[in-house]
């Protein structure tokens, strides 16, 4: 693991927890790191942002539709049983990827920029496995954050 990747890796959990504490849950302690996923995520949604420029990086957030629905409800201040549209869910998960990715960018060499989030039912293509991955648990549902980094200009 490169120095940049290990710095980013160490920051993913506190960063994601800050985001959930401040904007999703309103209190700490509900987003917990896990050693690894216990089983593959079912009915997954993928949200990612890329950092392009001198530093190249991708932050990918993966979670089940059910967890993404709960996330959208929390962010939109909706009741537990209120329906949310796929558009709301994509917007919410995209913003999570955006905030995590944007904050990670501040720890990378300067002068790079952040792409707008993309949210899909299919995994983005990548030439190699992620450089780092972190599994998290939120309200019983797993959330996986994967990072790719490259500081020598090579593609991801």
């Amino acid at each position: 693991m490169t120095d940049t990747t290990s710095t980013l890796a160490q920051s993913v959990v506190p960063m994601a927890q800050d985001l959930f504490t401040a904007m999703v849950d309103g209190e700490p302690g509900l987003l917990l790191p896990m050693e690894a996923l216990e089983e593959p995520i079912t009915d997954p949604l993928y949200a990612w942002v890329d950092i392009v420029g001198p530093a190249v990086s991708r932050t990918l957030v993966v979670t089940a539709r059910e967890t993404a629905d709960r996330l959208a409800r929390s962010l939109l201040l909706k009741e537990d049983d209120e329906p949310v549209t796929l558009e709301d869910v994509q917007d919410a998960l995209g913003e999570v990827a955006n905030v995590v990715g944007g904050n990670l960018k501040a720890m990378m060499p300067e002068g790079s920029s952040l792409t707008l989030p993309v949210v899909e039912h299919a995994e983005p293509s990548a030439s190699r496995p992620a450089d780092h991955e972190q599994a998290l648990l939120w309200w019983g549902g797993p959330i996986l954050i994967q990072l790719w980094t490259s500081t020598n200009g090579e593609d991801l």
């Binding site: 401040a22 904007m23 962010l75 917007d91 944007g102």
Partner: protein, 127 residues
Amino acid sequence: MRALVIDDSRVMRRIVASTLKGLGFEIAEAGDGRAALDLLEAGERFDLACVDWNMPVMDGLELVQEVRKRRDWRDLTLMMVTTESEQNQIVRALAAGAHEYLIKPFTPDALEAKLDMLGLLPQKELA
């Protein structure tokens, strides 16, 4: 007080808007910098604009630069509300004419504190 909330994420617009509404602001929303400029050019007046940085069509930094070119909009307080958090980016936005800078993620009380310092909160009642 009127506020314009500019962000391409509806979720984020709603979060900012709900805090501002709770503080007594009347809200309008725009999904990118161009849409915000259109509202201003149509003669809409605001006391505060909360501006995301990364947006399609026209980004927040460009919007700040455009707003600052117009003398008749100089009373509009501009606050970046963005995930961009490098020191240099904050300096760039302030140099372009933003008055304040709030980094995502933020809590409602952090937004309120920024408005307090900008003199945009109604006088607090004594507890």
